[in-house]
């Protein structure tokens, strides 16, 4: 599904990603771990198309289609979703209104009519129940005055509503207490199927206790220095990241 080859990206001429290779197949969950500043969030942003970063070399394809040629909204229309590490506030726009607009814009781009209001409401009810959200919350301004945990849960709610092909969860576990973490993980697990894929970016192993990855990759200084199965996450938890630095 997603294929990244020799990806280099920089910000203000400072190299951040220095040759990433990664392949994610449909139905798989990949975890990307690594110490602070290793380039994890940059990788997520570059896949989503954030223009703050310049891609200097390499390719990203989704189902053999070049993503780098597409604008961020076009990538979203192809099924790319990113859960933000720091979700953005939009005053005066309710979560309901925002997600309704997003769904209908995606449908429009894919040649579909607007989703009828009745179905939209039904879907909102189902997905908010899945994530054990208070629906009053959905009529508040998007992310404005939300706690860190509420923001993250709202990101996963949007993911559930948009049903993306590829979901990238950037540090979704930060700011979540253990109960919320379980609810969010449960939501992600229920949403996974053989046709979609998830990339989890995290610093700690604790989320991976609840969403079990098929592969774990360790990113250090802009490169994937080690890949393995879920046991690699435990090893990192035990030994820290210092030994990884020697691999680089």
């Amino acid at each position: 599904m997603l294929k990244i080859e020799n990806l280099h990206a920089e910000i203000e001429d400072k190299g951040i990603l220095k040759g990433i290779n990664l392949e994610v197949k449909a139905g798989e969950i990949h975890a990307i771990m690594g110490p602070n500043g290793s380039g994890k969030s940059t990788l997520a942003s570059v896949i989503a198309g954030n223009e703050t970063y310049a891609v200097s070399e390499g390719t990203i394809t989704l189902d053999d289609e070049d993503l780098l040629d597409l604008s961020p909204d076009e990538r979203a229309h192809k099924g790319v979703f990113m859960s933000f590490q720091y979700p953005i506030e939009i005053p005066g726009v309710s979560t309901t209104n925002f997600i309704k607009t997003a769904i209908n814009e995606n449908r429009k781009a894919n040649g579909l009519e607007d989703l009828p209001a009745k179905e939209m409401l039904k879907m909102i009810r189902e997905k908010s129940e899945l994530l054990e959200m208070d629906r009053k919350f959905l009529s508040r301004s998007l992310n404005e005055g939300f706690s860190g945990g509420e923001k993250k849960r709202n990101e996963i709610f949007q993911m559930a509503m948009l049903e993306p092909k590829l979901a990238i969860l950037d540090e979704t576990d930060s700011g979540l207490d253990i109960d919320a973490l379980k609810i969010v993980a449960n939501g992600v697990n229920k949403l996974r199927n053989k046709d979609n894929a998830v990339i989890i970016i995290t610093h700690y192993q604790r989320l991976l206790d609840h969403i079990v990855p098929d592969f774990v990759h360790v990113l250090y200084d802009g490169k994937i220095v080690k890949s393995g199965g879920k046991e690699l996450a435990h090893e990192l938890e035990e030994k820290g990241y210092d030994w990884i630095k020697e691999l680089a």
């Binding site: 989503a48 909204d73 979203a76 990113m82 953005i88 005066g92 209104n97 997003a102 814009e105 301004s141």
Partner: protein, 481 residues
């Protein structure tokens, strides 16, 4: 050489009518220029009584001694007042018309505007008075309103039919001497709306006026006079459009509202005059004086959505004369390209326990300049007066400007005055967030702007809120990229 009415008539007969891209209706236009004879001719054309003619002439003499105000934060080439035609009427209008007699080309024009009279009548339960250039074309629902004793008609008709009401109130809130443009309007106003709601009557429908400048090189000077008698209620809406032209057109209106004891007036405006093109050529100069007076326990609420005009100079105000009266001002002003807006309000607290609220949302894009200017004045006898003001500015790009000029004059120690202001910019991060969800940048801006303006949009009557929302989107089209 003296210019007589006969000369004028002759000139009108030989005048060539323009046929252009604007609606192809013959129109009856005075030659350009302004002097006492033109003022007299306008009055004569309207078959006005002597007191009205005299009142106009008095205004004209006052105007001649005045200078155009230059304190506003706008820059433009002053119009040449001798280069403007002061009267333009679609020619086929007959004073005895009914709706069925309305020129089919005119009706076609309304259809283009999306305001077909019949449709409006049926669908929206809105009574409409439509002013094209200088003359009211048709007032719908007149009979239905008459049953409740409500008078809603062109002001020219009111001068004929209800001279006592017009004479009693005209110029009492905005006197001829008020300012340069108000004086000009008083001298040359050609039409506008008149409305009277009798004691205790709640007007059962929205009253609406639609203004349009069609003819080139004309000015439009409407005069609106709205009187809500004791304990009555009315919601009034005005909409404005003008076709694209590359010269600047002048629009100088005066609106006077009178809310007698316990009355409530809700006055909403959606202003979409031609703003000029991308390079700042053309557009309407909109110099408007709007003011209302509140007697005991009454309320006036101004809501405006200003997206058009090259220059906007407009301060809908409230004189809170009666005890416990309430004034409100809710405004969204959008400027794009080279538009300039200097708009706000004046809340004059004279009575005890008077209350005012000001919510102003300014949105600037392109190379435009957007200013809020507001005065909160608390008189010495206004015990326990309260004001809350909130002025928010939203900027798009790096070449536009937002300015806030709040003035406060307080002569009573018991007053409570609050002022809040914020300035924000549509951030790259907000746009990226929306983009990532599949919402393109244009749509994302519309969403963010609507969110920003929501408090004010919510104050508009339902059907116009939707229209206003669309207008915001259109006005900001192409503002990024």
């Amino acid at each position: 050489m003296k210019y007589t009415e006969d000369d004028l008539k002759k000139e009108l007969e030989t005048q060539e009518y323009e046929y252009g891209f604007y609606t192809d209706i013959e129109s009856d236009t005075f030659p350009k220029g302004l002097n006492e004879d033109v003022v007299r001719a306008i009055s004569k054309k309207k078959n006005e009584p002597k007191w009205m003619t005299d009142w106009r002439l008095e205004a004209f003499r006052i105007w001649q001694k005045m200078a155009a105000p230059d304190w506003a934060n706008v820059n433009y080439k002053k119009p040449d007042f001798q280069e403007i035609a002061y009267y333009s009427a679609p020619k086929k209008v007959d004073p005895n018309k009914t709706l069925d007699d309305v020129d089919s080309e005119l009706l076609e024009m309304y259809k283009k505007l999306g305001i077909s009279i019949n449709e409006q009548k049926k669908m929206n339960n809105i009574a409409m008075d439509i002013v094209v250039d200088s003359v009211s074309v048709a007032t719908t629902f007149k009979d239905a309103l008459a049953k409740k004793g409500i008078l809603f008609m062109p002001i020219s008709e009111a001068i004929q039919e209800h001279p006592e009401l017009v004479k009693k109130y005209i110029g009492t809130i905005v006197p001829q001497t008020d300012n340069f443009y108000a004086a000009l309007n008083s001298a040359v106003f050609t039409d506008g709306s008149f409305c009277y709601i009798p004691k205790g009557v709640k007007c059962p429908m929205e009253l609406s006026t639609y203004f349009r400048i069609n003819e080139g090189g004309t000015g439009q000077f409407e005069r609106t006079l709205l009187i809500a008698d004791e304990g009555s209620y009315v919601s009034y809406l005005e909409g404005c459009t003008a076709p694209a032209r590359d010269e600047n057109q002048l629009h100088a209106a005066v609106v006077e509202l009178i809310a007698l004891d316990g009355a409530e007036i809700k006055y909403s405006t959606v202003q979409n005059w031609f703003p000029g093109d991308k390079n700042g050529k053309g557009g309407v100069f909109n110099f408007v004086t709007k003011r209302g007076i509140c007697y005991k326990n009454s309320k006036i609420s101004w809501t405006q959505v200003e997206t058009g005009s090259a220059i906007t100079w407009k301060y809908p105000s409230c004189i809170l004369k009666g005890d416990n009266s309430v004034g409100e001002f809710y405004s969204i002003a959008v400027t794009n390209n080279y538009q300039q807006a200097d708009t706000g309000t004046k809340m004059i607290h004279l009575g005890k326990n008077t209350k005012s609220t000001i919510i102003s949302k300014g949105i600037s894009a392109g190379k435009s300049q957007n200013s809020y200017r507001g005065l909160v004045q608390i008189g010495a006898r206004a015990e326990n007066a309260r004001n809350f003001s909130q002025c928010d500015s939203l900027l798009m790009g790096n070449e536009c400007g937002a300015h806030t000029f709040p003035y406060i004059e307080c002569k009573n120690k018991t007053a409570q005055i609050e002022h809040e202001a914020t300035t924000s910019k549509i951030g790259e991060d907000q746009l990226f967030y929306c983009n990532q969800r599949g919402i393109d940048t244009e749509k994302a801006i519309a969403l963010i702007v609507n969110g920003f303006s929501k408090e004010v949009l919510n104050k508009l009557p339902m059907e116009f809120a939707v229209e206003a929302q669309k207008l915001l989107e259109i006005s900001l089209e192409g503002s990024v990229g």
